[in-house]
Symmetry: C2
Subunit: 450 residues, 2 copies
């Protein structure tokens, strides 16, 4: 993309309404614009990242054998009356009446609807195990929406639902989700720690939240520091292997890590003192096993191998896709702006032309642009007639991990400058080598763009 | 995908509520499920096609230089009060009151919101031309929703908006959209004819609708039969070239083609009698130029090269993405089921195992599956323990363009059967050749899946 043809409305001033750094930078970098309290437009740069996160979530869910589909944003109230949650849900549910005076709602979650779909079409244990998921806009009418996309009202979320014949199978689905989530967050450059959590209005006993450590997190968390040494890495997973998934679950949850909701001071005291940590965390996902709560209430049953009709065991599992942008920025920035992890960056590399209009500099930039594009990478070429300082400030603010700077002086010596946004370290090298270096960084990291 | 691990709830009976063939087949093929009047879930097979259409639209819009972003589904009423449309819109607008008693609405279209974004961030002619678009769920509270996704209430639509300094530039944007739409529909296997249309509540003088001819279309159309001989083909387009885009516009709109809304009997009479046609058509897109209607009302201005502040010239341009599924099926089916055009098929090829459990047949199917997958294709392997007749009926119903049938008898002779869904013609050939043939069909047609 050439910046002169893009829509990147960066702001010089810090918007006064933004209290946390991710909100400030998303506004300043022209990623979002507020349209109403807690309701945002995703401007082109923000949309690119959102779509990348969505694509990573799809890839990892499909890899785990989960089946993508899509449910609508609006739901009939009657479904929620069946489960008893229509009256229980409180004012955060946005209730709507249509022109025929039917009670509708903007879905905050989809347990009822997916259970209805399941009971309409599935009747035999032979169709199990089954996990269906979707990524869709949801609405929670927060009393005090704030922190930008971190606590918006209209938000984008992946929610998946498993249907299993037995509790054991459902707990495998739970573990499978945990494994796929660990992979997902790591691909996004995030360390998200599973912590035992409270089930809230979804119901159920087994539940873990995934928390990203950040000073601006909404939850207080208590953990054994050894938990932050764990990494998922590139281990090979057979998602059908119950023992392997249970092993990962065990490995990532046996150390103490809890939010304030479930914190147990006595248990925490048993963690070696030098490893006891208190911090704040941002919730970026949650998994639940809730047994037959919804299948009982809504009659979602299957005939088992013995001919007996039994309610299915279910769980639900969510990743807050839009809030992840905020979480990633909270975890990865400096005082100049965002620092995107390579796995989710909106553009792979910036190209800064120090002397736009200089024939040689223009040609060198264009050649870099073409080479990177031919390798399947998306460069952002700042081809505007602006001063170098302004171009650098914009690149730093929007946080592309790599920048190639091209100027007449370097070109005389046959070199351009390759700069890492994270370390700030620059290196002079021939253009072909700069391209090769950038390509090498992204090898194996490839995520679909829009 | 192995069918035994998929969720494909095909129906044997024809649902009584479905009046048109696309609605019937989408229900029978397990593509959609109605959740409320005019509100549907996209079951896994339907979602695959929806996502492919979405990806084609993105690819062609970006190719034309249009910039993707995303606006929210809910909008504040105040924006619509500025343009005067809040009161004018009528009961098809779904009006919502949030917990703070603020008037909101579920967006049926986005002229106001995009104009607000533009005026907040753009002030100079130097940032023009600019076309922003998004693909988002919209809502129209139809009195009588029907025909499945063809006239749903919650629907998925691409809407794009151009901002230009002059009327001439805006008309180029109009032509650019026409060109990109012709390409888009052809990639989807559709012939969509641009017809002079009526502007309706959006306003404006210049507008064309794109119509797909089908007996079940909602509009009566009148056209010169020569218009159906035009094809876009693989011509190279420079979307910055005003003359080239105007040439395509001229070529595709100078023959008589109008809907009943704009039909002119006297003009039609001048078409040679043997080329006069009357038919029905399904609207799958529309482009508008409406000048400064919204920029005047909402103060969207730029400073021109002469320093004078002028309102921008705008247009809006839409493709009904979810309704396209219905239109494609209406245009491409037979009495056994859907026939997907190769460009949009949910899976590229079916594999039918005639004797599941037979070691040789199972191994041959798995090898085909692996070969196709390694080539980047998505096969659907019917590995269920079902009779051949049932497997064929399912494949015919869901409409994959190619099917490979594997049975012990053929394998003895070293062959499998490759069948075209469209022609019904089968050929026996070695498995490697069947794979090569399928790969050849899809070469150059590659569209991203989910």
């Amino acid at each position: 993309m050439r910046l002169s043809r893009y829509f990147l409305p960066v702001l010089k001033e810090t918007p006064s309404e933004a209290q946390i750094v991710s909100h400030r930078y998303m506004l300043r970098a022209g990623m979002i614009k507020q349209n109403a309290a807690g309701i945002y437009s995703w401007l082109p740069l923000g949309f690119r990242v959102l779509r990348k996160l969505e694509n990573i979530v799809h890839e990892e869910q499909m890899r785990a054998g989960h089946i993508p589909m899509l449910m609508p944003t609006l739901q009939p109230a009657d479904l929620w009356r069946e489960s008893g949650r229509y009256d229980a849900y409180g004012p955060e549910m946005l209730r709507i009446r249509d022109r025929q005076d039917r009670d509708m709602l903007y879905g905050p979650t989809n347990e009822e609807m997916i259970t209805d779909i399941f009971r309409s079409h599935v009747g035999s244990y032979k169709d199990l195990p089954m996990t269906l998921y979707h990524i869709q806009w949801k609405f929670r009418d927060e009393m005090r929406p704030r922190f930008g996309v971190m606590r918006g009202r209209e938000f984008y979320m992946k929610d998946g639902y498993n249907f299993d014949l037995t509790k054991e199978d459902a707990l495998h689905a739970y573990n499978r989700h945990l494994v796929s989530y660990l992979r997902t967050y790591e691909r996004m450059g995030l360390q998200a720690i599973p912590m035992r959590a409270d089930s809230g209005p979804i119901g159920g006993d087994d539940t873990h939240e995934f928390l990203v450590l950040a000073d601006t997190g909404e939850s207080e968390v208590f953990y054994d520091s050894a938990v932050t040494d764990l990494t998922f890495g590139d281990r090979k997973i057979d998602y059908d292997d119950h023992a392997q998934c249970a092993g990962v679950m065990e490995e990532f949850t046996n150390l103490y890590a809890r939010t304030d909701e479930t914190h147990d001071a006595d248990l925490f005291a048993k963690v070696p003192a030098e490893r006891q940590r208190t911090a704040r965390g941002i919730e970026v996902g949650q998994i639940f096993y809730f047994g037959t709560k919804y299948s009982d209430a809504m009659g979602a049953t299957v005939q088992g191998p013995d001919g007996k009709v039994v309610p299915v065991h279910m769980g639900s599992h969510g990743i807050g896709v839009s809030r992840l942008l905020g979480a990633i920025i909270e975890a990865s920035h400096d005082d100049k702006g965002i620092i995107w992890p390579e796995g989710v960056t909106p553009f792979h590399c910036g190209i800064v032309n120090l002397k736009q209009g200089d024939a040689e500099a223009d040609a060198a930039c264009q050649a870099l642009y073409d080479s990177l594009t031919a390798l399947g990478l998306d460069p952002l070429y700042d081809d505007r007639n602006e001063r170098a300082g302004g171009k650098f400030a914009t690149m730093d603010l929007i946080g592309l991990p790599w920048r190639i700077t091209v100027g007449p002086r370097g070109l005389k010596n046959g070199v351009v400058e390759l700069t890492s946004r994270r370390t700030g370290i620059s290196e002079e090298l021939p253009p072909e080598e700069a391209v090769a270096r950038v390509a090498q960084v992204y090898a194996g990291l490839h995520v679909r763009g829009i």
